[in-house]
Symmetry: C2
Subunit: 345 residues, 2 copies
Amino acid sequence: MRLEILPVEGIGDITAGDDLAALITSAAPWLADGDVLVVTSKIVSKAEGRLVEVPADGPERDEARVRALESETARVVARRGPTTIVQTHHGFVMAAAGIDASNVDKTHLVLLPADPDASARRLRADLAARGLDVAVIISDTMGRAWRNGLTDVALGAAGIDALLDHRGEIDPYGNELNLTQMAVVDELSAAAELVKGKCDQVPVAVVRGYPIRRTGADAGVSVLIRDAESDMFGLGTAEARAEGLREAAVLADATGPVAELRAVERALRLVSEVLTPGTGIEMSARRGAVDSADAVRLTPAGSEPADFARLGADAHRLRLALATEGVISRVAFDDEGATLRFGEA
Amino acid sequence: MRLEILPVEGIGDITAGDDLAALITSAAPWLADGDVLVVTSKIVSKAEGRLVEVPADGPERDEARVRALESETARVVARRGPTTIVQTHHGFVMAAAGIDASNVDKTHLVLLPADPDASARRLRADLAARGLDVAVIISDTMGRAWRNGLTDVALGAAGIDALLDHRGEIDPYGNELNLTQMAVVDELSAAAELVKGKCDQVPVAVVRGYPIRRTGADAGVSVLIRDAESDMFGLGTAEARAEGLREAAVLADATGPVAELRAVERALRLVSEVLTPGTGIEMSARRGAVDSADAVRLTPAGSEPADFARLGADAHRLRLALATEGVISRVAFDDEGATLRFGEA
């Protein structure tokens, strides 16, 4: 296998309603069956009229940008200084929802295509109507966690599987690959970016020679979107830490399983420095359950009202420490102290 | 500009001490000045002897894997089920520290090269000694946040700038680009992966026709590593949330600025459902400071010891709610209630 990556030059300015298939085939009459066409999302957005009008400058421009960001945002993932990373309605996690003010006149912002997989399917169909059987990828430039610098990735695709599944293949040493699914549409987008440039008006590139795999439904890039529950980085670190603090403030009484003795001991160790000196701490377990605890009894260091108030604060601290160990508790206060209970009893 | 991506076939098995420059030039006698050579990290590791011996199966194998992971780990970023994402000593954030059991016999694990930038510089120098002026990238396959599927990225580079800086360029509409730095070595790695395959023993590919930029020091891939403080995703969501809970458990008295009245009100709203009904709440501010609060006084709903214990728990909840608003507090308990103070007074 050898690949060629070819820029498509001379496409020029795109405005709403433009026929991309016509413009691309006239700029690249050499386009051939089996090519992978990688189209920068910006020209797709422009052709589809996905622009919002904004003032050219001043605070009104900033306000209009904020409004556009809000309308493109499904949820905020992380914020720091001027940067807001959100999950878009499509499911992409991107700075500023992919809204862009470059390569457009100063009175417009460019939004992402509303449904990039559908845009890719439409463009592929339009090219098919002209007798061309190509795969279409719609790409955009994105940042990522942990690494500086941006790369191009795919927002939409048609006529090509987004993932190339190596699972089940056997390597030359007899090991079965069990995790490897390559995001080939992202790699094709990155490859295409290398010939595009940012200010050179080369919004389309062609990858030639790639053995396109296409199985079953034309699912597009949607298969690359990881749902929030299975993502280990669904929230920014600062945001998740703040969420932990909020949970701690409103922690409710609840019933979970009986606690492991060692978990309770670890929780007590965590708060040992902050509990009021002299506080009485006694663990209890049901008869015969040697490695478990179903309650901790706390008694105050003295008999004044302030001693009981300190005990109450300490009880909440210990409940939070238990929560970090996965131990669910409920608390009862009486006139001699506090009891934290775990388990059904 | 047009690029070609060419696989280098017939390199065969690599063992410790092998001369990669000799093997690559003999497999690819067509290699030419200006080419970008993208080498899979695994063969670099093998040539450098970065292998650990492990039992072929059984619990001893798992234990040896855990030990290898620990020694390659600078810090754990996130854990879920069998997956551990760590930051390596190089600074890369990767599942299992990039340790791999594929494409190696069953009694070895392959570690990442100890210093991939140095490995790239060495290979580039070895090729230069053979009269070839090429850029060298050492690549590996990585997962990423938010998107399914893996892509190849660069671990090391020599003779090429890792980042291509578009900042300051003016687009055709007169807008100055102010954020765009492309991680071109990652895009070149991704492009090369497209011709490599996983079990096909094509560990090297060449990108031909790319206008290599090389300015100043040969800093390699190190410039792509984002330090933990400037990374908004330095910890997994669950880990950061747990850290928030732990902070809440051990929250210490501290002195910060006077609080904004609205921040205190938001904190009170957050805990309003969980505070003991009947608790007395009074905010106070210094004379003339209408929008700020320097203390909140809490008094118990009754006069029994248990009422004071509940008040103590409520005081800690409110302090946590204030902390989510950035309000730093200290608490004093007396025989009539509790006072939370903000600011120096």
